[in-house]
């Protein structure tokens, strides 16, 4: 009962290096496409409809009304609380991710408007250590919701995360609890929360804030699930269903409200938010 034909996950090209050429070659259809055209088209190939990876900046651009974005308050960064070192030091990974993405951590939060409706929005960025949620991501999500409460705006979270930030240990697990206690305040304040799940929404993020939207929308091509495919395959030692943990799997199993095409996300969000204007 999938809405779309079954498939493995859409390719996500997260390591797109910045370069100065005006054209790019679509890896799906092979067409040479004009880069600005791609970006204006929500990073969807104008020729074949393939989704290219969208950075958090690009995502904001494609959702919010032009010029409406205004980042929230302080820039936060991890202080490497465990002085964690695995095959390399955590602080090096962070510095590299910061340099590569121009972000402080795996999320951008700010105020903006969608078709004129004021919102507070958070967009996670998979390029930054797999979009993982550590202290900074957790804190920024909370501050975003608090800002929504203060300004009486709806809150939108676009998730793209592999789960908790392992390098911050138990602190990162507890961000699940932290985001949820604040999410509860948002609910008590009577403000709507629309959760948008994209590729991928998994682990501790899926098992906390992302699943608690008043409305939960999945972008076409999303991956949605708690445990990783490999962990499950090791545990049960069997093939996984073809569309396992895709957005159509999630819809079929009652986990999400709707699937939207990326091109329609902006109007979808405007429509959804419209119901809550002036709600109790």
């Amino acid at each position: 009962m999938s809405l779309f034909k079954e498939r493995q996950y859409l390719r996500v090209h997260v390591d797109r290096e910045p370069d100065d050429s005006l054209w790019m070659k679509c890896k799906s259809c092979g067409e040479l496409v004009f880069k600005r055209r791609v970006r204006e088209n929500s990073n969807v190939c104008p020729s074949c409809g393939e989704y290219f990876f969208q950075t958090s900046q690009e995502r904001l651009e494609s959702i919010l009304d032009p010029g409406s974005y205004e980042p929230l308050g302080d820039r936060l960064s991890t202080d490497d609380p465990l002085s964690f070192v695995d095959s390399r030091p955590y602080h090096e990974r962070v510095a590299e991710a910061q340099a590569k993405t121009g972000l402080d951590d795996a999320i951008l939060v700010g105020r903006g408007a969608i078709e004129g409706r004021p919102v507070v929005i958070g967009v996670m960025d998979f390029r930054f250590i797999g979009g993982s949620m550590g202290s900074v991501v957790g804190e920024q999500i909370c501050r975003a919701m608090e800002s929504a409460i203060a300004d009486r705006r709806g809150f939108i979270l676009v998730s793209s995360s592999g789960g908790a930030r392992i390098q911050e240990g138990l602190l990162s697990l507890l961000q699940m609890a932290k985001t949820v206690v604040v999410r509860r305040r948002l609910a008590v304040a009577g403000l709507p929360f629309v959760s948008v799940m994209t590729y991928p929404t998994s682990g501790g993020v899926q098992a906390s804030i992302a699943s608690l939207g008043d409305i939960v929308i999945a972008e076409r091509g999303a991956m949605i699930g708690f445990a990783g495919r490999r962990v499950i395959e090791q545990t049960i030692a069997e093939e996984l269903p073809a569309h396992f943990q895709t957005e159509s799997f999630a819809l079929e199993h009652g986990q999400i409200d709707r699937i939207v095409r990326r091109e329609d996300l902006r109007s979808e969000l405007a429509l959804a938010l419209g119901f809550f204007v002036g709600a109790r």
């Binding site: 820039r75 699940m176 501790g204 098992a207 708690f226």
Partner: protein, 319 residues
């Protein structure tokens, strides 16, 4: 811990000598006394400076007391409540009512199996969506009647499987967190063995979080971290240290509220004293929580979780 076996062997020998002594042939009292002193010193030496990995092994020790053992020793009148009213009844997470020093409480406990049979039934102690939803149902029952909620956490993690995903295990965990965030009764969670990630936190968002001295509580298993970060499963030992998952460290970090002492060598060396220490801690913390007016209790819970995290503020012009 091969030294552990040496000590156990020595202990057995002393016992044999003691029996020989009791049988009356020769007097070995002095020698036995000296051996015992030696044993005690060796034990102290071995166990008082446990490495993180040694604690991991104790936390997973097959003889370690499990939740039902504490239910039998710490509580009375356990009255199990089964079923999520939707799909099934998870046997890795049990819920029910019981009495703690005569006072009714609601229990949410994760139970591992000891035999192969039991492990099959209990999915090796890994909770499924049915278990989390049952827990939520029991929390709501507790709230309706004003029963404090006590969680005993002991799982390597939520059960990873196709059925778990089909039944929205992530959503079930998230909803438990949301429910616990607002529960209008005092809540205490104790990690008694393994506190495995979201699978543990799903019953762990409590007013007080305690750990047994040799329990572990972590965002991921050492083995999982080794595989993902070190790309080498043999590095679990290093991962265990790097992840800072032991009770003393987490207490020092301010992430938990108390450590319940275990006997030297671990809870299984003397379950009775461990139970007594656990009971004392539960009674004390519940007593403190019940003295708080409800609005203050909820405000404190909120502040506790809102405040968790470590970060620095960057200058606006920093690259």
């Amino acid at each position: 811990m091969t030294e552990e076996r040496t000590l156990d062997f020595l202990e057995a020998k002393i016992e044999e000598l003691r029996q020989l002594n009791a049988s009356g042939g020769i007097d070995l009292s002095k020698e036995i006394e000296r051996l015992e002193e030696k044993l005690s010193a060796l034990r102290q030496d071995l166990y008082s400076n446990l490495t993180d990995w040694e604690r991991v092994r104790i936390a997973r020790h097959p003889k370690r007391p499990y939740a039902l053992d504490y239910i039998a020793s710490v509580f009375s009148d356990f009255y199990e409540l089964r079923g999520d009213r939707i799909i099934g009844d998870d046997r890795a997470l049990l819920t029910g009512l019981a009495r703690l020093e005569g006072r009714p409480v609601a229990l949410l406990v994760q139970q591992k199996g000891r035999t192969t049979e039991e492990n099959k039934e209990r999915f090796f102690g890994m909770t499924r969506p049915q278990g989390y939803r049952k827990a939520r149902r029991t929390m709501e029952l507790a709230e309706r009647f004003g029963f404090p909620v006590i969680s005993l956490i002991d799982t390597s993690g939520a059960y990873p499987g196709v059925e778990s995903e089909e039944l929205n295990i992530g959503g079930a965990i998230a909803e438990n967190l949301q429910t616990m965030a607002g529960l209008r009764v005092p809540t205490v969670a104790v990690v008694i063995g393994e506190g495995g990630s979201g699978g543990a936190l799903a019953i762990g968002l409590a007013d007080r979080v305690l750990m047994l001295e040799n329990a572990i509580y972590s965002v991921i298993t050492p083995e999982g971290a080794a595989a993902i970060l070190w790309k080498d499963k043999e590095k679990a030992r290093e991962a265990a240290t790097a992840l800072q998952m032991t009770a003393p460290t987490l207490l020092e970090r301010g992430l938990i509220d108390g450590v319940v002492a275990e006997p030297l060598g671990g809870a299984h060396k003397n379950p009775a004293t461990t139970s007594a220490a656990l009971k004392e801690a539960l009674v004390r913390h519940l007593h403190e929580l019940e003295a708080m007016p409800l609005d203050r209790l909820l405000a404190a819970r909120y502040a506790r979780y809102r405040g968790v995290g470590r970060y620095v503020t960057r200058a606006p012009d920093q690259p």
